[in-house]
């Protein structure tokens, strides 16, 4: 277990800033998820911690000791890549024991450790197989066992489940989550899957264009995004541009009392699941423009003043395109953020 600190990390490729003053602390035994779109810099952070990528500037510390210039093989930080990269010429057992062999650990101890991990990751019966003889899930477990064998200070997971089908992904997520809790290993997961980040991590850091734009517990970042950019990571949401004055939010749908002391031009974020269909013909009248069936709910897009409003309906609340319905939009519960300079909202 180890505490990891990133201080002012900078990295550019061909003049393009990939990391722009990244600072983050991951506590001992904590599970941190780095969430962001492709190119946001999350993988670069992992490689910087692992030592496989040189930084332009910044300091990385493990347990308050700087490791920025320590060679990759002496950092005690293991990275599980999305491509897994099991050694093709080694059996499962040899792959798992590789790190310990490199540390010149006694053979009997390597054998014992490999057997423990084979049991823990349900790989019994596959220990003498080669990687090409394994299924995707088995390869995944071997890659994780190989990483865990060396008992690293920090475990880095770079989108390790992205190439698995949904059911296998879910079971691997649970397995890794349970293992992490059981072993108490400080873990950093890079993902662009919000569900994965929210369900697995103790805290989530959201990255955009090489910067961390919000860090917090999954509930906090999901419920209380600090900006529209953060909010957009969590899928379709409604953004109402308006202004706040004396606790009142004024937008194209009316004036609403809001429990906030903020003032000025702001955007109110309301999640689709917070909007309900009004049966007593009160609220905002919209025309259904499109519907999407998503298994558990129907997603509707309603049109009002040429703007889209996303909301959900259940089986008993089925509507057709062109239907007119009333919506209860809970402006009182919305999250107020600064208006985006680049985007025009409702």
């Amino acid at each position: 277990m180890a505490k990891i600190q990133l201080e002012g990390l900078h990295k550019s490729y061909d003049g393009v800033k990939i990391l722009n003053n990244i600072s983050l602390t991951v506590e001992e035994g904590e599970f941190m998820a780095l969430l962001g779109t492709s190119g946001s810099g999350k993988t670069t952070i992992l490689h910087a911690i692992a030592g496989t990528n040189e930084l332009d500037d910044g300091i990385i510390k493990i347990n308050n000791q700087e490791i920025t210039n320590i060679p990759v093989n002496k950092r005690h930080v293991v990275l599980v890549d999305q491509n897994l990269l099991l050694f093709p010429h080694m059996t499962v057992k040899a792959n798992i024991g590789f790190g310990l062999r490199m540390q010149k650990v006694e053979r009997s101890l390597i054998k014992k450790k490999a057997e423990e991990l084979i049991d823990l990751l349900a790989l019994k019966g596959h220990e003498n197989k080669y990687p090409h003889q394994l299924s995707g899930g088995q390869m995944q477990r071997v890659a994780i066992a190989r990483a865990l064998a060396t008992e690293p200070y920090v475990l880095l997971l770079d989108e390790p489940f992205s190439k698995l089908d949904i059911s296998l992904r879910n079971s691997m997520q649970k397995l890794v989550s349970n293992l992490q809790k059981k072993l108490g290993m400080t873990t950093i997961l890079v993902t662009h899957d919000k569900d994965e980040a929210l369900s697995m991590a103790d805290r989530v850091a959201i990255l955009s264009h090489g910067k961390i734009i919000q860090v917090g517990e999954p509930y906090d970042v999901y419920e209380h995004p600090k900006s529209i950019v953060v909010s957009r990571y969590f899928g379709d949401r409604n953004y109402f541009d308006g202004s706040m004055l004396d606790g009142k939010f004024t937008c194209s749908h009316g004036v609403f009392l809001v429990d906030s002391s903020k003032e000025g031009l702001l955007t109110m974020i309301i999640r689709p699941e917070e909007i309900t269909i009004s049966l007593n013909r009160k609220g905002v009248l919209v025309t259904i423009e499109s519907t999407f069936y998503k298994g558990d709910v129907y997603t509707y897009v309603g049109k009002k003043n040429n703007n889209d409003i996303f909301f959900y309906g259940r089986e008993q609340e089925r509507y057709k395109v062109g239907d007119e319905i009333w919506l209860n939009i809970p402006f009182k519960q919305g999250v107020l953020v600064e208006r985006s300079k680049h985007e025009k909202n409702i």
Binding site: A50, G51, T52, P71, V72, N73, K74, H76, V77, V78, L79, D81, N83, L85, F87, P88, H89, F98, G99, R101, M102, Q103, Y130, H132, R146, A147, T150
Partner: protein
Amino acid sequence: MKNNIIKISQPYLMVMPALILIVGIFVGGIFLGFIQSFGYFPLIGLDELTFKYYIEVLTSPTFLKSLGFSLYISFAQAFLSSVLGIFLAIGIVTTIKKDSIINGIYKIPIMIPHTVVALLVFIQLTQSGWLARLLFNFHIIKDMSSFPALVFDQMGIGVVFAYVFKGLPFITLIVIDIVREGYNKYVKVASNLGANKWQVLRHIIFPLTLPSALSGFIILFAYSFGSFEIPYLLGSSTPKALPVEAYIQYNSIDLLDRPKAMVINMIIAFGAFILVSIYQKLYSSLKVKMPGGAL
């Protein structure tokens, strides 16, 4: 029934023109050599099958020396080419960018004919060659004759050198993509798991290249075991490599030596056959172990 026969024989008939060449020249030649090795050579009045020539050749000290010399040359050059070829591939991958023109230079010796290579080695390594002159001009040797005999020598240094000149880039060519893939994919993982540079070579790069390098080793061994030009042009007068010995016997004024030449040729062919079988067995067993991996 008739249609069936036509249908089955059709592909064979279609490849027949090409097959006639292969069957006629290669298999026919082997067959003629084979029966001549058993003393059947009606042209000079030998028309009885006998083991006599095999016994004569296999008990001849000259033959045994030649066999030993051929095995030694083949092994030495294939081993040196394989080891140095892997190291050259590692050197190129780790120090030179993939799109650099230097990447192609190492392939040049592959395109040079063996006879030209023999000539180049002759120019460089004889006692009056470039190397001897260079050492003499730098006063490293007192006179040119004190330069060691590296060509026409009993150790076959010139012969081995010429083969390595051709074989080393060949091995580099067949392992370089595996080395590159090894470095691109697995070296970072291995380092991340605690391996130092030497451990990366020992546990990742060498094992990954081994199957291909071994295949290359067998090809080089088999080729030089049956190859004539280089040991003929650069080898010592004694011992001679097997193909040279066979050529001399074949060209002998006494036509009665012809069956002995064929015995030697049959032994060379048998050796090549054994090596090809080992190669195939090795290749298929490694392919089962590492499909798409290091092969």
